[in-house]
């Protein structure tokens, strides 16, 4: 499972073997009933088989070899479709197998009061507390209620680097089957056995609980409707032929029941009918390949419809943290004095922002890092009340005491004014300028003087702007969510090229915004990890929860991203679109194919009618525009083509049609050309080629 993120080869030997067997197993008519189109094909195959057996038993039947071939190809048609589905399922099953290994029988150390009891993991119930220490496997899904530990989640995510899990906050969820690497945690179990995350994941990838998605249902109705139309066309065709036979006095020997069944099978949309479920399963499979678990096929489908993305700024649009980029000294302050003070105040600051100040001081002014202990200084930590941090040097070695502060502009300014100092107007101007440009100003002071301002900036990820403009051309709006003030947010939004932003957004704001967009008819996707994201995740049409997030978030979303990468949302949308496109493309292809099949089979059926003399070609032989060898070879070629095209399209069904971000109008033109026009032309060529081969080897 460790290589999960690398794509499985399309045709893996072990999957192939299993799929071949499954294809046979799926011949069970009860299973076929789920797929009306293929059910009709199977009934047709059974009927021709019965005719064949009757002919063998009665010794009659002049067309034995021909009927045998028709029968075989009808069975192949069913088998090929079964095989396609089995292949798609097989890829999931292979993944499920490796997941199952992580679920082998585990034991749990259940805590009851003060003592511990060793019980089987399968006996754990909701709310039980279990203790996990280094080396233990976590016995079930739960929430850390005590302690902090590093956990190896590679069984689930395929990512070998351990992650930190701790009580409280947004990193408290643990998954059954993962392993504690260090320290000790107490976990409160949040799922009943059999319905853990791992269990659900296995069920999902296996497709055990696969239900047809709304769009699949609608498409199945369409395909069934077309099947009925063609059933009517073929059934009545027998009567029309009879009329022609009576009127022209010529018996049309080719219009036998096996031929009519072959015509029906060729006309009904077997291509899409045979591949429909494979397309759906492999859509989910593609999500899994990218380490995203969708709770249902419905969610994958909805992803394709998304037209508004709510994206968290941090981690998605910008690199995780702000970086110090410039020192702006106050009037009459030497730049290196500011840099020195800024560095000193940040030495003990282990936050990425703090470190970036140290790095900047070193890069710009060659200031080396110093140890706080050597400086005999006192570190003043950041608090939410003071919104400042800093360092105090006591008077020593004849040096005057220094009190350096660094913090939010208004906090430091207040602090200075309270201490009797003065804030130069120039500093205010610098602070405003930085904020306007999307940066965060940190004011540095020493004693009663303001030394200057450190400019912290969000670094927008490379290439993200292009990504957003692609999305825009696909009709998807991006909305940046940030806790920043509106000024900062606007500047970053402009730099990243998002369509809109929400500044100082609270979880309630997010929820409200999603509802509003939905009321306007939009479909909204978002990512989230915190418990307070849960309502918004649940409200969104596609809610992707980060695997590092809380249990509540993971329950609320309809997808979980095992890599916890918020950028993945864009890929999720693309996979959804690709799934729908593949369905549409093959449906169009399937229907367009019928034109050629009519031109193969109708002349074969009607060719002799109204001939001037019996035995000669009748006027309708003119419809044989492909110049097929004989009526038998024409019917056989069409049937063979119809079966082979299913096999030929399995890779397309499993992989999905080529997807490029483009506007709908362009996508349509492109796909219409390939699958519509292509679907009209290809069968003419294919049937002709098969006919030439059949004629050459004398099959009909």
């Amino acid at each position: 499972m460790s290589n999960q993120s690398s794509a499985r080869p399309l045709f893996e030997a072990s999957i192939l073997r299993r799929a071949l067997l499954d294809a046979l197993r799926k011949l069970n008519p009860l299973q076929q009933l789920k797929n009306p189109v293929m059910f009709v094909v199977e009934v047709g195959a059974i009927m021709t088989s019965a005719i064949l057996i009757r002919d063998v038993l009665s010794g009659g039947g002049t067309e034995f070899s021909f009927n045998l071939q028709i029968t075989l190809w009808l069975w192949f048609t069913v088998l090929f479709a079964n095989f396609a589905e089995a292949m798609a399922e097989g890829r999931g099953k292979a993944q499920a197998d490796s997941l199952r290994k992580a679920r082998k029988e585990m034991s749990a150390r259940k805590r009851i009061g003060d003592r511990e009891e060793r019980i089987a993991a399968s006996h754990l119930r909701l709310g039980d507390l279990v203790v996990c220490e280094a080396g233990d496997q976590i016995p079930g899904d739960g929430e850390v209620v005590e302690g902090i530990a590093s956990v190896d989640e590679s069984a689930i995510t395929g990512e070998s680097a351990p992650v930190i899990r701790e009580s409280g906050g947004d990193r408290s969820a643990v998954t059954g089957g993962t392993r504690v690497l260090s320290d000790r945690i107490v976990v409160k179990i949040t799922s009943e056995p059999g319905s853990t995350f791992l269990d659900r994941m296995i069920a999902l990838v296996e497709g055990a609980k696969r239900q047809k998605t709304p769009n699949e249902i609608a498409l199945t109705i369409l395909l069934s409707g077309l099947t009925i139309v063609f059933l009517l066309a073929v059934v009545t065709l027998r009567a029309f032929t009879a009329y022609g036979e009576v009127e022209s006095g010529i018996a049309q020997t080719t219009a036998t029941l096996p031929v009519l069944i072959a015509l029906l099978v060729c006309l009904i949309p077997t291509t899409i009918g045979g591949l429909l479920s494979a397309i759906g399963i492999s859509g989910m499979d593609r999500m899994i390949q990218r380490n995203v678990l969708a709770t249902s096929g419905r969610a994958v489908e909805a992803a394709g419809d998304i037209d508004v993305l709510l994206l968290d700024k941090t981690g998605t649009i910008t690199l995780g943290n702000r970086m110090a980029t410039t020192f702006h000294p106050a009037p009459n302050i030497a730049p290196d004095r500011l840099a020195d003070a800024a560095q000193l105040s940040s030495l003990a600051d282990e936050t990425p922002e703090g470190r970036s100040v140290v790095v900047l001081a070193k890069e710009k002014f060659g200031l080396r890092g110093r140890e706080i202990a050597d400086l005999k200084a006192e570190f003043i930590p950041f608090t939410a009340q003071t919104r400042m941090s800093g360092v105090d040097f006591h008077a020593h070695d004849g040096q005057a005491p220094r009190s350096i502060r660094k913090g939010a502009a208004d906090a430091v300014k207040q602090y200075i004014i309270a201490g009797g100092g003065r804030v130069p107007n120039e500093v205010n101007a610098i602070v405003d300028g930085i904020a306007r440009n999307g940066g965060t100003p940190l004011v540095v002071s020493e004693n009663a003087d303001i030394l200057g301002v450190i400019e912290l900036k969000d670094i927008v990820k490379g290439g993200i702007k292009e990504r957003f403009s692609q999305l825009r051309s696909m009709g998807i709006r991006t909305i940046m969510i940030t806790g920043d003030n509106p000024l900062t947010a606007a500047a970053i939004a402009a730099e990243a090229g998002v369509d809109d932003f929400m500044a100082q957004a609270t979880p309630e704001d997010k929820l409200r915004r999603i509802r509003k967009e939905q009321d306007d008819g939009h479909l909204v996707a978002m990512t989230g990890d915190g418990t307070n994201d849960a309502p918004a995740l649940a409200q969104a049409d596609v809610g992707v929860a980060m695997n590092t997030g809380t249990q509540a978030a993971r329950e609320a979303g309809n997808m979980v991203d095992l890599d916890s990468d918020p950028t993945k949302l864009i890929e999720v949308v693309e996979i959804g679109k690709q799934l729908l496109m593949t369905r549409g493309a093959l449906t169009t292809f399937s229907i367009a194919n019928d034109v050629a099949k009519y031109f193969a089979i109708l002349p074969a059926l009607f060719g002799a009618l109204y001939a001037a003399n019996t035995g000669e070609a009748g006027p309708l032989a003119a419809l044989n525009i492909m110049a097929l060898h004989s009526p038998q070879s024409a019917i056989l070629s069409a049937t063979i083509f119809n079966a082979l095209i299913i096999i030929a399209l399995i890779p397309l069904a499993l992989r999905g049609v080529n997807y490029r971000p483009m506007a709908a109008a362009q996508v349509l033109q492109r796909n219409l050309l390939i699958y519509g026009v292509g679907g009209l032309i290809i069968p003419f060529v294919g049937i002709k080629v098969i006919d030439m081969i059949i004629a050459a080897i004398g099959l009909a």
Binding site: P214, N215, A218, I221, L222, S224, G225, I228, V229, F230, L232, A233, T236, L237, R238, A239, F240, T241, A242, Y243, G244, E247, E301, G304, D305, D307, R472, M474, G475, I476, R477, D520, G521, H522, L523, K577, Q578, L580, M581, G584, T587, T588, I591, V595, Y598, L602, F606, L609, Y610, A612, L620, A622, A663, A664, A665, V667, L668, N671, L672, G676
Partner: protein, 563 residues
């Protein structure tokens, strides 16, 4: 074809294009309940009508309520016409003393006029009294057309409204369609027709002696009033048996031209009404364009086929069976327009067209009467195909298919399939039955493929509520009267009820605003796609049948054989 005839074709389609937005805008105001220049006169009448009938005009119905009201009203209408025919012998306004109509014929005729089909198994002047014609048929000519308009207005509301529940009030739609649209237009057209010499009196037939010395009964009657609505309402049921080939129904080239224009006028204008009501006239024009392209393509093929040399006779442009007064072009244009527009009237006999021209006329009908089609019926039939097209092709852009921002889901597809399937099934199954049974075969006037075309055409015409006949087939037998009657019921309500169901399921949906990611339905690509889907679905369903009718006949004719 002469340059003058070509000019006339250009004038015809030019006028149609010009009149579409004019009448379309007017009708949009009617359906929205807004004031028009007719309101000062008609509004009081309308209010009184509601008060007398107890209709609560401001209470809208959901789709089920709408459908129930519609079916009840139509079934009642059926029984009135049925009863009038059975009782006409004892009723007044029967100067010719015509007897009671035979039951299966009465069933067929009542169905025919109630369903806006206007298939006529009978000869009007020798079968129906003036009372039956005026109280029965003429009334149905109005209300069956108004029913079609009502259904399409309900469907449009279903598409245009967002997250609502009701789709209008059937009674109001019926009254307004009749009172503000059909009556005024008919009045104008009837007056113009009278000025051209169309009959409008209550006299008994006049005996006349012809030049060859034969005595002939010249039929009289209130023809003009019925002919106006017969064309405007895409009804087509002639006052006289030979329909618009009769000089009393269609006396001059001008009357011919105006009648042809009247046939397509309302169906064409409705596309614009549609566009206005959904807030994008462009969407309406795209549908109009798809219809026009199909009509003109079909017409061109028919004309080419007619003006090509006929191998059987060795001449081009055979006049037999055409409207000799107006020429081949006018006969063919009439044939194309009426078969496209669900109008059963004829000024020439389709049977006398070349096999290909007759085949295209038949295809026009078989596609489901959606090339302009019947009043209302054509547009709602077309919208069914629009929904199918959006569903099939819309997936290809990678989104759940949506039309006008509304998602097309299982329910809509189910209903759309039903609406396409039911009339097709009626055509195929009944044609199959008739082509292998003695009862079906004995009514043919010709053998071979031409005889087959006669049968196929009859069921196509009935199932799609067109009403025109191929001529030749003796349809006034219990077998045909009953089967064709059933086909008309299926073809009418088998489409209307699914359409209203779609209106009902669409009206509750949210509307997604358009974006570059939306499947565009207002451009040339969509119009082309729509035509392709219509042709493929239609052709795939009926290609075998057409092969054994017009196509083989054409090929045989090319070889110099005829039937």
């Amino acid at each position: 074809m002469t340059p003058l005839e070509l000019l006339q074709l250009v004038a015809y389609f030019g006028l149609l294009i010009v009149l579409t937005p004019l009448l379309g805008g007017f009708m949009a105001r009617i359906f929205a309940g807004k004031r028009t220049f007719l309101s000062p006169v008609l509004r009081p009448v309308e209010v009184i009508t509601y008060r007398l009938t107890g209709v609560k005009a401001d209470e809208e119905q959901d789709w089920r309520g709408y459908a129930v009201a519609l079916v009840v009203f139509n079934v009642l209408g059926f029984f009135v016409v049925f009863g009038l025919q059975l009782a006409q012998g004892v009723l007044p306004l029967n100067p010719a003393g015509l007897p009671t109509v035979e039951a299966t014929l009465a069933f067929n005729t009542a169905t025919s006029f109630m369903t806006n089909t206007n298939w006529q198994s009978y000869a009007g002047e020798t079968t129906l009294s003036y009372a039956t014609q005026m109280l029965g048929l003429a009334v149905q000519n109005f209300v069956s057309a108004a029913t079609g308009i009502a259904v399409v207005s309900a469907l449009i509301r279903g598409l245009a409204r967002r997250t609502a529940h009701t789709i209008g009030n059937f009674w109001v739609d019926l009254v307004r369609s009749t009172m503000y649209i059909l009556l005024p237009l008919s009045l104008i057209l009837a007056l113009v027709l009278v000025s051209q010499g169309v009959m409008q009196n209550f006299s008994a037939p006049v005996e006349a002696t012809t030049l060859t010395g034969v005595t002939q009964a010249l039929p009289q009657g209130p023809a003009a009033s019925q002919i106006a609505i017969k064309q405007l309402g895409t009804n087509g049921g002639g006052f006289f048996n030979v329909n618009s080939a009769h000089p009393f129904e269609n006396p001059t080239p001008l009357s011919n031209f105006l009648q042809m224009l009247a046939i397509l006028l309302i169906p064409a204008a409705l596309t614009n009404t549609y566009g206005r009501m959904i807030g994008s006239q462009r969407q309406g024009w795209v549908i109009f364009a798809a219809m026009l392209i199909m009509l003109i393509t079909g017409l061109s093929l028919m004309l080419v086929s007619e003006y090509s040399s006929n191998p059987v006779f060795g001449v081009a442009g055979v006049l037999e069976g055409k409207e000799v007064r107006f020429g081949i072009t006018n006969s063919i244009l009439w044939g194309a327009a009426t078969t496209a527009a669900s109008n059963g009237s004829v000024n020439a006999m389709q049977s006398s067209f070349t096999p290909l021209a007759g085949g295209i006329a038949m295809l026009n009908i078989l596609l489901g009467e959606i090339i302009f089609g019947g009043v209302g019926a054509g547009l709602y039939g077309m919208l069914i195909f629009v929904i199918m097209t959006v569903f099939i092709a819309g997936l290809m852009v990678g989104r759940t298919p949506e039309y006008l921002g509304k998602k097309i889901e299982a329910r809509e597809i189910q209903m759309a399939i039903l609406a396409i399937l039911l009339p097709s099934a009626a055509v195929l199954l009944m044609t199959a039955l008739a082509s292998v049974t003695e009862a079906g075969l004995s009514s043919r006037a010709n053998v071979g493929p031409h005889g087959f075309s006669e049968i196929l055409y009859a069921f196509a015409s009935a199932s799609n509520n067109n009403g025109s006949a191929f001529a030749g087939l003796n349809a006034n037998t219990p077998f045909y009267n009953l089967l064709l009657g059933i086909a008309m019921w299926v073809g009418r309500f088998g489409v209307i009820i699914p359409v209203l169901a779609i209106a009902g399921s669409m009206v509750v949906k949210k509307t997604a605003p358009p974006s570059p990611g939306t499947f565009p339905t207002d451009g040339a690509v969509f119009a082309g796609l729509l035509i392709a889907i219509i042709l493929i679905v239609g052709a795939l369903t009926f290609f075998p049948a057409l092969t054994l009718g017009p196509i083989v006949e054409h090929l045989l004719m090319a070889a110099g054989r005829s039937f």
